[in-house]
């Protein structure tokens, strides 16, 4: 069989992306008796725990621009972001009726409160608000987190109807380590040659990882990387930017394309950080719960949803993203009414201003089709970067 092309792989990812009934996950569940699916929202949950119980972790990122939200709007005021309402719509319309558990991670008060709504509306589903420590001392936050993980492990085991053994966890670690390595590789490849792996494609490849079993996603990542490496594509005179603020509610795919078409190569972003939350491999020996905890405390990514205890380090991550990827500017794109992104942004801007990294910012909604202003802003931004960087 010939190796798949990027186009073929992206077509498959697009189909998964467009399927708001989650057919792939449904098929997975139906393929064997007793299978269970555990959904989760942004920003981070230890998917290894779900996987090790033989269950499918299913990432839910709202319904995007292709679902007309009918019920969700009755639950949310106009001044709350879109993702909880479209997610509720998915639930109320039965599109998530195969989901057995749902984890709502610590990210902001909207998702926090959505966990309570879910408990009320879907009493048969195992619903859990997944808290993570904002204290990063192993003896303080670490002890708390290990116990939380242990309790989650037990609850998931009950849901799965089988214990989650240390060995099963280590096997899951190995698979997710591979997944993270491949994602890192993909990001590095894109940063090196963004015209060969456009963000609109890498985005879809990552999105596929929200619905596919990790084993399949690993294969998909490897195939895409191989195909992208094998294909030559025209290089455009684009500037290189980091896209920040897109970690929860998703912009329409057309917005990503619009940014690229306006002359910006996206060389780093914070889409679906669950794939990149842990920065290093989890050890496959020793106590797995301790390993997850240590990785979270001292080896996880930084983001607006997290506390930075040290003032001198605040916001440095955006600068590192710029430097490590040889970016020339930052585009802050945040969902309207998004506390983590919008409260964080001025602090990140300050860090960039100190070293004269140019940036622009705008807001979006998952269903907003107003791309013209985005095109114009991104286009002007790209032009100004090119102008000023010309020797």
């Amino acid at each position: 069989m010939p190796a798949p092309t990027t186009a073929a792989l992206v077509t498959r990812c697009q189909a998964l992306f467009d399927d708001l009934s989650f057919g792939a996950a449904r098929e997975w569940k139906a393929a064997a008796a007793g299978r269970r699916v555990v959904a989760y929202m942004p920003i981070y949950v230890p998917r290894e725990l779900i996987h090790a119980a033989g269950m499918l972790p299913l990432g839910i990122l709202g319904a995007g621009e292709n679902l007309e939200v009918i019920h969700g709007d009755a639950y949310y005021q106009s001044y709350i972001c879109r993702i909880p309402r479209s997610t509720l719509d998915l639930g109320i319309t039965g599109r998530l009726d195969f989901v057995d558990g749902f984890l709502f991670p610590s990210i902001c008060d909207v998702i926090r409160n959505l966990s309570g709504i879910w408990k009320i509306l879907f009493p048969k589903v195992y619903v859990h608000y997944f808290d993570v420590p904002q204290n990063f001392d192993p003896e303080v936050g670490g002890v708390f987190y290990r116990q939380e993980l242990q309790e989650l492990r037990e609850a998931l085991a009950r849901l799965a109807g089988r214990p989650i053994t240390d060995d099963a966890l280590r096997a899951s670690f190995a698979l997710y380590n591979q997944n993270r390595r491949l994602v890192r590789e993909l990001y590095a490849f894109r940063a090196g040659a963004p015209w060969r792996a456009p963000a609109s494609e890498t985005y879809l490849v990552l999105r596929a990882g929200m619905v596919l079993p990790v084993e399949e996603h690993n294969q998909l990542l490897a195939d895409y990387l191989a195909a992208a490496r094998a294909e030559e594509r025209p290089r455009r005179d684009n500037c290189r930017i980091v896209l920040n603020g897109v970690f929860c509610e998703q912009p329409p795919l057309s917005m990503i394309k619009a940014i690229e078409m306006s002359g910006c190569y996206i060389v780093d972003d914070d889409f679906m950080l669950v794939h990149r939350w842990l920065l290093e491999d989890l050890p496959v020996t020793g106590d797995p719960i301790a390993a997850l905890s240590t990785a979270f405390l001292s080896g996880s990514t930084e983001n607006g949803a997290k506390y930075q205890p040290r003032q001198e380090l605040k916001g440095q991550y955006i600068l590192e993203a710029v430097r490590a990827n040889a970016a020339e500017g930052v585009i802050f794109a945040a969902p309207s009414f998004c506390d983590p992104a919008l409260l964080e942004r001025p602090m990140l801007e300050k860090v960039l201003d100190r070293v004269d990294v140019p940036h622009i910012g705008f807001k979006y909604a998952e269903n907003s089709a107003q791309l013209q202003p985005v095109r114009e802003q991104a286009g002007t931004f790209a032009d100004s970067i090119k102008l000023w960087s010309t020797p």
Binding site: A74, Y75, Y76, Q77, Y79, I80, P84, F104, S106, C108, D109, V110, R112, N113, L114, S115, G116, I117, K119, I120, L121, H128, Y129, F130, D131, P133, Q134, N135, D137, E139, V140, G141, V143, F144, Q147, E148, E151, G304, Y307, Q308, P309, Q311, K314, A334, S336, F337, C338, D339, P340, L342, L343, E344, R345, P346, M347, E349, K350, K363
Partner: protein, 439 residues
């Protein structure tokens, strides 16, 4: 200060004098605290800034430190109608129109000289005590303030009651943070060594005041209600929620207040409003959500003019749910601070919030639930429509929804709110199926 029992004095002046006693007392306390805060250069006491939910006032006092609460400053500026300018200033400086207006009112205030209500500049805090309790914004707010002040910052992370309960693990985590992070930080900044017996003393004092506060809040179970548990309630919670919990002043304030309310009950009087005693009580409401501060008086008037009295509110529980039985406990000092933090209203999950409101509807014999949804507060607002549906469903009583903001005058539309309230009152009348009954 001693106050003669009200029954020994002639009736008309008594009400006047008794009414004033607690109000005057609170006013004095607030003024004194602002005077202390704005004269640190003279007396040298250190200042901690912190939040109302998860306020550790007793602990702060153990280090001879003063407590400055940015939320309260924002409220003060809202009521004095200057928050709008501050918010505009913060937005000019790059803060999003979409985020919490308390934060922007605070940052704008700092940008414009950080002037306290007494006209003097507030000091730079010596410590930001980030009690991360019940609200995500708190975390970012103090990261933003840390950039301004470049002062030591210590985080107390209070886990959320996601599953509707507190666990041993959550409690241990908080206590450990208090021991290993918060107390050492307070010691370092103040130079005062921690004395747990001193803390016990303050906690003992707190519990006394808490008993009286609960009595006052629960007095609204009577008909007619002698208090308004929202518009009046925000004054009653003042001392306990802010820099006075654990002080003899607070105990005295609540003793006075309780005596006043006892007297009002005895005389069958309704709540005091800015325009005198409220006469008729046609509607008994439970209110969910914070009030609007920029048009506070106007907002309140819309209620008492139509005979609506608030008999219970959730906002008066953001600084502690004492009516659910919690008391600060000198025998378990750090544990009780942990329990206090975990129990505040916004740290409770949505089902718990619904249960509490349903209980209020029941126990306070309310005619309905009114939700004042705050535009920029996700902690309170996200999920309030669900709350409304559920409470309506469970109680069979009508609920209504209005939308305002805390301290951003742009989002208070008096005409809209008034219309909405009037149709709501009509709805209650209809539901009763008979002419409104005056209490």
């Amino acid at each position: 200060m001693t106050v003669k029992p009200a029954s020994l004095r002639p009736q008309a002046p008594v009400r006047e004098v008794v009414k004033e006693a607690s109000m005057v007392k609170q006013k004095e306390m607030i003024a004194r605290n602002y005077d202390l805060l704005t004269s640190t250069a003279e007396h040298g006491r250190k200042v901690a800034s912190t939040f109302v939910p998860g306020n550790l006032n007793e602990l702060i006092m153990c280090f001879d430190m003063l407590n400055n609460l940015p939320e309260i400053n924002a409220i003060q500026n809202g009521m004095r109608k200057i928050s709008g300018d501050y918010i505009t200033e913060a937005e000019k400086r790059g803060h999003s129109e979409d985020v919490c207006t308390y934060v922007k009112a605070d940052l704008g205030m700092i940008a414009k000289g950080n002037v306290s209500p007494n006209g003097k500049p507030l000091p730079r805090p010596d410590l930001l005590l980030l009690s991360y309790t019940g609200c995500f914004t708190f975390m970012k707010w103090f990261e933003l303030l840390r950039e301004e002040y470049k002062c030591p910052t210590v985080m107390l992370h209070v886990p959320y009651q996601g599953d509707g309960e507190t666990t041993r693990n959550m409690r241990d985590y908080i206590v450990k943070q208090l021991k290993q992070e918060v107390i050492p930080a307070l010691e370092r900044v103040s130079g005062v060594k921690f004395d747990i017996d001193r803390l016990r003393g303050y906690l003992r004092e707190s519990a006394r005041a808490e008993d009286d506060l609960v009595w006052v809040l629960e007095s609204a179970k009577q008909t007619p209600a002698p208090i308004d548990a929202y518009f009046g309630g925000v004054y009653y919670i003042g001392p306990i929620f802010t820099a006075f919990r654990g002080t003899p002043d607070a105990t005295e304030y609540y003793r006075l207040l309780r005596a006043e309310i006892e007297e009002r009950l005895r005389l069958g009087l309704g709540p005091i409003t800015p325009e005198g005693d409220m006469k008729s009580q046609k509607y008994r409401l439970v209110v969910e959500g914070p009030p609007n501060w920029t048009s506070f008086r106007e907002f309140w008037k819309m209620f008492y003019d139509d005979g609506a009295v608030v008999v219970a509110s959730s906002y008066t529980k953001v600084g502690g749910t004492y009516d659910l039985g919690f008391r600060h406990d000198p025998d378990h000092p750090l544990e009780s601070l942990a329990d206090y933090c975990m129990g505040v209203y916004t740290n409770r999950n949505l089902p718990q919030r619904i249960d509490l409101l349903e209980k209020y509807m029941d126990e306070y014999q309310a005619d309905g639930l009114l939700i004042n949804s705050i535009k920029s507060c996700n902690s309170f607002s996200a999920g309030q429509l669900m709350i409304m549906r559920e409470v309506e469903k469970r109680t069979g009583k009508p609920a209504a929804f209005i939308e305002t903001d805390l301290v951003d005058p742009r989002y208070f539309s008096a005409a809209n709110v008034k219309n909405r309230l009037e149709s709501y009152f009509q709805m209650i009348d209809q539901k009763r199926g008979s002419a409104p009954s005056a209490a």
